[in-house]
Subunit: 407 residues, 2 copies
C-alpha cells in the first residue's frame, strides 16, 4: 500500500497558495485571516475524507476516522501556521501527509483496530503568540488555558479573541485524551539528511531548549551633543551580548546552538542614543547538562556587557524544555516503516521544538523527518524534494498501519 | 527691556500639554494630529500678537511684524515637532522665546527698522520623515521640493499628503527670502553649560555631520536545527558593527561622537536566525577632516564584520553636512546681548543639527543655547531651569533689538 504522490503534491500546492508570498514562501500567522482560510480548506478536505471534525477550546482541529469502539486513537498531524515570510513545508507538510495517509486508508478500504485521528494544532510557531506550541502545551497540561487565552500579539490582540474572530473557538475541552500513539511528519530544518543523501529521519527525540528575555535600560539622549564619556547606550551593551551569545556556542562547542533572533531598539531613530533594547536568547543542545552550563555563562555575558556600559538590565530565563525522548516502540515502528520504503534513512534528534514534544507527555510519540534543502527553513527558500516527501509519507503510512492495527 | 518670564513660562506649559506623555515628556511627531493642534495654537497666539500669518509649500509657518518697507526681515524661530517620547523644550522653546520677544516688543510699542518674522519649521527632527531639517533644507535649495514631498514615514504615508491632511500645505513658495539675520534659541542638548554653571551659550557654529545606512543580508534559518558552522547571521555581523562604531570614536578620540541609533531585525522572532538587519550610523565632529578619517574606518569595520560572518551588505553614506560657521556679526551681537543679561555665558559649538544650519546658507545666522539638565535631550527627562530660559530669552530679545534696529 502506497500513498498517492500526485494527490499529495496537489494538496501541498493548493494549501500553499493561502498566504503565499511573491518569492515562493508563506506568511500565514496563527489566527490570521490566512490561517482561517487554510483551516477552512483543511476542514473541507477532512470532511470529504469522511472524518468527523471537532474543534477544541484552543482551536485545535480533530478529524476522526473510526476504529473499534473504546480503543484509544492513533493521532497524526502537525500545525498549519507559519512564521512571517516562512516556507510552505514547515507544519503544513505534516498535516497533509497525515491527511494523505487517511485518504490512502480510505482508497484501500482499510479498517483499523484503533481510530485514526488527524490533528491540526494552533499557533505552533510562537511567531504571533508566545510561547510556541501553545495549544499542545495546554492539551498536555503544561500551560494553563487562561494564560494561553491571554497571550497577546505585538498589536495587543488576545489569542482567545482572535480564535473567536476567525470562528475556531471550539467547545471540546483541551485536555489529554487516551492515545494509542502520536505521529508527526515534519521537515528536518537542518542540513544532516541532505548532507548524507538520506530521505528519511527516524526521530528519537527533541533537544533541550531554553529561552531567555533580556531588557537593557540605557540613557536615551541626543546622538549629537552628548559626548562619548557620559553615554550609557543600551544598544552598545546589547551588541556585546549578541557577540557573547555567539561566543558561548563557540566555547562550549559540540552541538550547542545559540541565537539572538529578536532585538528591538527604542526609540530607534538615527539621532537618538538608544535608551532601551529588548532581545531574546535561544539556546539548544541534545543534553540538558549542556544548557545547565550555558545558562550561567549567559548570566555572566549579560552582567559584564551591562557593567561595561553602565546600564541596568533584567534577564529572565522564562522557558525551558528538557530533552524529550520519544517512545521506543513508536520509534521502532517508524524505523521499520522507513526501511520498508527502500529509501535511505537514519535515526536523528530534532533541533526544533514540535507539538510532538508536548504530545510525548500524553502518550507514546514519534516523528518522521524529511530533508530540508541546504538545511534551511523559516524562510521563503524552504524546500523538500517530492521524492523525499513521498518516502516520508509512506513511512508515516507504514507506521500508522502498524500502530493502528489494520484489520 | 526684559521679557515677561511668567507669560513665557505659561506658554511653555500650555503648548507642552499638546502631545504630553505621562512621564512629563512629549510625543508630537511632525504632521501628526498633535502637531496640527500645536500649530493651531501657535497660529492663534501669533495672530493675537498682531502678526500676519502665512504658510509656505513645506508647511513652514511665518508670522510677520512689520518694519520699514522694503527692508529684509530679522527672522527668529525653531520647530514644534518632537521625537517619540522626547521632551517639551527641544524646538518648542525656541519658537516660544521668539514669540515672547515679539510680545515684549509689542508691550513696549517698539518699532523696528527691519520687519521681525517668527518662523515655525516643519519636520526638523527627522524622526517621522527623513532627512531631518527637511523644510529649511528645501528653503535653502539644498533639498528638492519634490523629494521632500515624496518622503515617506514608516507606514508609507507621504509628507505632502500629511501636510494636506492637517491643513498646512500652504501656497507661499518655499524659497530663500532676503534676511537681515536668522536667530534661533535652542536647548544645548549637551552637558557643557550645566557642568560649567553657565546660563547661555553663544553658538559659533554647528559640527560636521555624516549619516550612513547599512543593510546586512544574512541567511534566515531556524534557530534550532541549524548548526553553528553553517550560519550566516545578519545580527551577529550587525553587533560587530555596533561595537566597531563605538571603537572608531574611542580610537580617534577628541570630540568625535559615533552612534548607531536605529537597528531593525528581520524576521525578528525568537527562533529564526536573523536574515536581514538595517542600521544607521551617525558621526559628528567639529572638524570636517575628522569625519574624513572616520568614514574609511567605518567602511573597514563594516567590511570586516560582514566578511567574518559571511554575509552580504550595502553601505551608503547618504547625508553629509560640513561644519557650519555662523555669521561673525550675528554671533557678536548675541554675545553682547548675553553679556548684558549679567548671566554666565560662553561661546560654544552645536553638536546637533538645527534649521539654523540651512538658514546660514540663506543669510547671516546665529543661535542662543540654554543648558540641558544632565546634558539630556530627546527623552522625557529633558529639562531646562526657568532661570536659564529667562536669561536665554533676554539674550534673544537683546540680539533681536540690535539686529532689527529699534527706532
Amino acid at each position: 500500500m502506497k500513498i498517492d504522490r500526485k494527490r499529495l503534491e496537489h494538496s501541498i500546492e493548493e494549501l500553499g497558495r493561502i498566504g503565499a508570498t511573491e518569492r515562493g514562501g508563506l506568511t500565514r500567522l496563527a489566527l490570521s485571516d490566512e490561517d482561517k482560510r487554510g483551516r477552512d480548506l483543511l476542514v473541507r478536505w477532512m470532511r470529504e475524507a469522511g472524518l468527523r471534525v471537532t474543534v477544541d477550546q484552543m482551536g485545535n482541529i480533530f478529524g476522526e476516522r473510526p476504529g473499534e469502539p473504546g480503543r484509544p486513537a492513533l493521532m497524526m498531524g502537525s500545525h498549519a501556521d507559519s512564521v512571517p515570510t516562512g516556507g510552505k513545508y514547515d507544519g503544513q507538510l505534516g498535516v497533509l501527509c497525515a491527511l494523505e495517509t487517511i485518504r490512502t486508508l480510505n482508497d484501500h478500504r482499510v479498517r483499523t483496530r484503533h481510530p485514526v485521528t488527524l490533528v491540526v494544532f494552533t499557533n505552533e510557531e510562537g511567531a504571533r503568540f508566545q510561547p510556541a506550541m501553545i495549544a499542545s502545551g495546554v492539551m498536555a497540561g503544561k500551560i494553563a488555558l487562561e494564560d494561553a487565552y491571554n497571550a497577546r500579539d505585538k498589536d495587543g490582540l488576545r489569542l482567545v479573541d482572535e480564535l473567536e474572530r476567525i470562528g475556531y473557538l471550539g467547545a471540546e475541552p483541551c485536555v489529554p485524551r487516551p492515545l494509542r500513539a502520536y505521529l508527526e511528519l515534519h521537515i528536518e530544518q537542518g542540513p544532516f539528511l541532505e548532507e548524507e543523501g538520506l530521505a528519511i529521519g527516524v526521530v528519537e527525540g527533541i533537544v533541550a531548549i531554553s529561552w531567555s528575555r533580556l531588557t537593557i535600560h540605557g540613557v536615551q539622549d541626543h546622538a549629537g551633543p552628548t559626548p562619548m564619556r557620559i553615554r550609557h547606550d543600551a544598544l552598545v551593551a546589547a551588541a556585546d551580548v549578541v557577540s557573547g551569545v555567539r561566543t558561548i556556542a563557540r566555547e562550549i562547542g559540540g552541538e550547542l546552538v545559540t541565537t539572538v533572533g529578536n532585538l528591538t531598539v527604542s526609540p530607534n531613530i538615527v539621532n537618538a542614543i538608544p535608551g532601551k533594547v529588548t532581545l531574546s536568547i535561544d539556546m539548544r543542545d541534545p543534553q540538558d547538562a549542556t544548557l545547565d552550563r550555558a545558562l550561567p555563562r549567559l548570566d555572566r555575558v549579560v552582567r559584564e556587557a551591562c557593567e561595561r556600559e553602565g546600564v541596568r538590565y533584567e534577564l529572565e530565563h522564562y522557558w525551558r524544555v528538557p530533552r524529550t525522548p520519544f517512545d521506543r516502540e513508536v520509534v521502532a515502528a517508524i524505523e521499520r516503516a522507513a526501511r520498508a520504503t527502500g529509501a535511505g534513512y537514519r535515526r536523528i534528534l530534532s533541533g526544533a521544538g514540535h507539538d510532538a514534544q508536548y504530545m510525548a507527555a500524553i502518550g507514546p510519540t514519534g516523528m518522521v523527518f524529511v530533508p530540508s534543502r541546504d538545511g534551511r527553513s523559516h524562510c521563503e527558500e524552504e524546500f523538500t524534494p517530492m521524492d523525499d516527501i513521498e518516502h516520508g509519507a509512506n513511512t508515516l503510512l507504514g507506521a500508522a498501519l502498524e500502530l493502528a492495527g489494520a484489520l
